[in-house]
Assembly symmetry: C2
Homo-oligomer: 317 residues x 2
């Protein structure tokens, strides 16, 4: 948790921006130009606030930053889920990212202006799908001039998004991270993987797994067991955790061939570890990738919404 000082944030503060995820909470106080005056981060995500602590958590962090009692706040993420602070209904694809603020909702029980941005859902442009939070990062990408392109946001549930003219044209959630956790820790593969989950994008097992998954005829559920069998049959088997990760990420990239235009640079948004793995896997697939800063994107997306929501406010700060 960081606190850059109360004095500093009160002067020139325009609003606060909150990214309220399932497991984490992040807050920034920014000036009228979007410059960060103070920031907070904690593990008080949705899961920690499900008992209704949203107002208290938000106010405690605002107080720690010395925010005035009327400083407005724009929030994205799981705070807007049905099980969150107040449900912010999904905007449906094709979803214009410069208009998220129009569907923002105000939770009850706060005295300051607080708005929660909507998520995005897909009903007709692909299989049913939902996102909450990633759309605001993508709004930040549009603010950065990236109104068209392919975006990959790897994680527990990776999102692949096609932006067209500043709108989310279509997207897909791939359960790669969750499958890796379940398979490596709770399936029969755990007997081959053991506790050795450490590997890097440079491990042979990882590239082997990616290459295997990109090949014609690959089918995830029909290839996983070979990780176990390779362990039983001995020989020069590559590190099983690396191979499992490569197989899952490779399968994810192979799947995108069926629903995304090919040959375009993929914009990667995520942790250093995951973007390194995905960047390497994309390289093996012959696809260029470019790394974007996820925190900067979400702040830009939130700031753009905040400017629309709060610019005509008479509240003086």
């Amino acid at each position: 948790m960081t606190d850059t000082g109360a004095e500093k944030t009160t002067a020139g503060a325009f609003c606060a921006l909150g990214d309220w995820g399932t497991s984490n909470f992040r807050l920034w106080v920014v000036d009228r130009a979007g410059n960060v005056l103070g920031r907070r981060q904690s593990d008080e995500g949705l899961l920690a606030c499900a008992d209704g602590r949203f107002t208290a958590v938000l106010e405690s962090h605002l107080a720690a930053l010395g925010a005035s009692a009327d400083l407005p706040v724009a929030i994205t993420g799981m705070a807007g889920a049905r099980t969150g602070w107040r449900e912010a209904p999904y905007v449906e694809t094709p979803a214009p990212l410069d208009a998220l603020y129009k569907e923002a909702v105000a939770p009850a029980g706060v005295t300051r202006p607080v708005f929660i941005l909507p998520g995005v859902c897909q009903r007709t442009t692909g299989p049913f799908d939902v996102m909450r939070g990633e759309e605001t990062q993508l709004a930040g990408a549009v603010e950065s001039g990236l109104a068209d392109g392919i975006f990959c946001l790897p994680g527990t549930h990776s999102k692949w998004v096609e932006l067209k003219g500043g709108k989310i044209a279509a997207f897909r959630t791939v359960m790669t991270g969750e499958l890796f956790d379940l398979l490596s820790r709770q399936s029969i593969l755990k007997h081959s993987i053991g506790d050795d989950l450490a590997f890097t994008a440079d491990d042979r097992g990882f590239s082997d797994g990616v290459t295997e998954a990109l090949a014609d005829g690959f089918a995830l559920s029909a290839h996983l067991f070979s990780i176990r069998a390779a362990g039983l049959l001995g020989g020069d088997a590559p590190k099983p955790a690396a191979r499992l990760s490569g197989m899952l990420i490779g399968a994810e990239i192979a799947a995108t061939r069926t629903f995304l235009p090919q040959g375009m640079t993929v914009h990667l948004v995520g942790s250093a570890r995951l973007t390194a793995l995905y960047g390497r896997a994309l390289e093996i697939a012959g696809t260029q990738s470019r790394l974007l800063d996820g925190e900067e994107l979400v702040r830009k997306g939130l700031f753009a919404a905040a400017c629309s929501l709060f610019q005509s406010s008479e509240v003086s700060r």
Copy 2:
């Protein structure tokens, strides 16, 4: 646990046949024609015997059947695993099923003749793979005149096997059952599935899932999340557990297109519930299936091995 009576089994007994799986133990005493004189079943599988109780468990069931002290026993399954009673090294594909007995091993610490049949492994005819127990069912199929064909043995780890001229030409393990358990009970999908795991092969959700998975462009990890999203977006979503099962079984059948000859009748060996689901899924895929009795097959395979192992024995019974 059943016991058809000690008196009956001692008279005319030729040998005992044991199927020692991970979770279950089954034993039959048969006469020289392979007719069952007595049978036992319990949950004393490998997991319950890992502390070295193999001899005691086997002898207790033989005693309950009134078997003589010198009645020989042929065993298949996980008792021959590295972590079992005594390791019976794998026979490699292409594996002749009428010769399994040649690689049988005798565990120490028993006074009667006991042999454990080997499993089968694959190193060159497909991805690394292993089986223990299914090869004996397939030996039983060969004994029944099915020396060529495609066999599907659904379960926690389904096996798909191609028999050619009485040999296992190639096979593949698909982790369908384990993925269903993990995904329905421990992944984010559990929030949509809840406790409602009851469904049949006739449920629309099941056929929807199968159809989805058989379609071009299907990729398991990129379609699973739509089960969750369909639940969140409401509407007329089919039963999620049925759809998940259909998707996984459909993905399994779709995968076999890449490594098995198509257009042949699939011989199904397994529980009534699973073979009903697989039979329906194969029907949707346009493939004929035929049900075989798994217990009869394993006995036939064991009996054939026992005849080779024990026929020249001087032990009189």
